[in-house]
Amino acid sequence: MPAKFIFTNILGVFVFNENYKLVDGLLFKDLDQFDEKEKHEKQIEEKHGSLEKPSGDDLYKILEFFKDKKYLSELRKKNIALTRVSVKDSVNNDLLIIQTIDAVEELNRTINLLTKRLREWYSLYNPEVSNKVKDHEKFVSSIVQKKKDKLLEELNIDKNDSLGAELKEKDVAAILLLASQINNHYKLRSHYEKYLQELEKETCPNLASILGVTISARLLDHSGSLKRLAEMPASTLQILGAEKALFRHLKNKRNPPPKYGMIHEHPLILNAPRKNHGRIARALADKASIAVRVDYFKGEFMGDKLRKDLEKKIKNLR
């Protein structure tokens, strides 16, 4: 009986006749051969003349042929090997960006928490500094670098007027240990932010130039990958991060729909008058959506042009 069907899977190329009996075949030794399956299929087709690919009932019978102890254990081996390779290959810059932005956000939270504790603790010893220096980073670095006397001198406060208690040296050392630890956290964070910038320059330069490094990284984190972000319509991108408000609106139309999500932290929106926030968010999301598509398909850098268009548009708003 002449051969009729050709079927390829990860085990090899198989040729079946009309009665679904195996006539000819070629077993793949490794996954590289599976990647070049078209080449092998051609070779076999030349040998047998015209062969057709099975579908419908024919495919059913052929798949039934592989439901056999012998083939199943082979399928397992090949599937494990292939899955291992594809898990390995699935790591890309998107995932690195996501991990980095998550690390930065977690550092932020830790720093805030610890600095609050430090301010309380240090105020027992020297409350004037904590009272006068409001900026966290400045406060931590100054108490690490300078002694109490000098700090008070800079703030023009007499040493004897200070409300702080006189602590023993080892008590002060304990406080300063925490301060130096927080200071290291700040250094780590600025290092990661620089690293994030480099990553985004490679992966999504257009998006980063429009939305800024942090917001574009957050959008990537939220959507999962650059591909998914590129597939989104601009209106989805606009309200990413405002899901709660969106679903509240969808369930009950009396609630207004959200105008913006994470995008709201962009300086163009924050610095605009309140009534324009929604309009600017829409324009910004439009341009960001174009930018992320250009990035996904590895197009040229056009961030400057998009940004200029955007600024022009915002200027015309009343």
Partner: protein, 222 residues
């Protein structure tokens, strides 16, 4: 006392509060489940809070139609919680194809089910039938638990190609991932209607109180 229950290869204790499967790889846990030993046989507790199939059994599902020596196509395996119990049920002679499109959970799945000789992990979307056809065989049972809007289409497509005639398929429907604005009851009715066109519905279970707004359908291919 752990004894046989009404369902094949699933065991229950005397007060019928917990269900168990025989551990295929003794000494190895998959998730943080409780392990019981009796007459040198190791049983793993099947937690209804983390597995929807177990929740259906707790809600008095009479038969899950997965038997010893079956070949199962498991769509949406995630980290392998339910998948490991299915692997326990089908036993050494059976086989499970565990399919999931996310590489993050596939990494955990590979580690979790390392010792099981009857599970093959596949990093593939259940929507790509042509690609799946290159990696699986015909199967006796399809189990699907994916939280996608198109979960019904995917289910029907897979049944059409991979399920043997007279074979059974299990579908977990998450109403909230189909449409949040509709009422779950309405969605389940629509799905029931769509399934009845081509298949026979054998059983239908809500998963309350373990899972909210979920329904488990068991169907038979004509």
């Amino acid at each position: 006392m752990i004894a046989k229950s009404k369902i094949f290869e699933v065991y229950e204790d005397s007060n019928r509060r917990n269900i168990y499967t025989v551990n295929l790889v003794p000494g190895k846990k998959v998730y943080e489940e409780f392990i019981a030993k009796q007459n040198n046989i190791e049983y793993r507790e099947w937690d209804p809070h983390s597995s929807k199939l177990a929740a259906a059994i707790h809600n008095r599902c009479q038969n899950i139609f997965i038997r010893k020596n079956d070949v199962v196509l498991y769509l949406g395996s995630s980290t392998g919680t339910t998948c490991s119990h299915v692997s326990d049920i089908v036993g050494k002679e059976g086989f499970v194809f565990a399919v999931d499109p996310a590489s993050r959970v596939m990494r955990d799945l590979i580690f979790n089910l390392e010792g099981r000789k009857n599970v093959a992990p596949l990093l593939e979307s259940a929507n790509h039938i042509e690609k799946l056809a290159e990696r699986v065989s015909l199967v006796d049972v399809i189990y699907q638990d994916i939280a996608q809007k198109s979960q019904l289409d995917i289910f029907l497509k897979n049944i059409n190609v991979f399920l043997k005639k007279q074979g059974y398929a299990i579908l977990c429907v998450k109403a909230r991932s189909i449409d949040v604005t509709k009422k779950p009851k309405q969605i389940f009715n629509d799905i029931k209607f769509a399934l009845e066109k081509t298949l026979t519905i054998v059983d239908q279970r809500t998963l309350e109180p373990f899972q909210k707004d979920h329904m488990l359908f068991i169907v038979k291919k004509k």
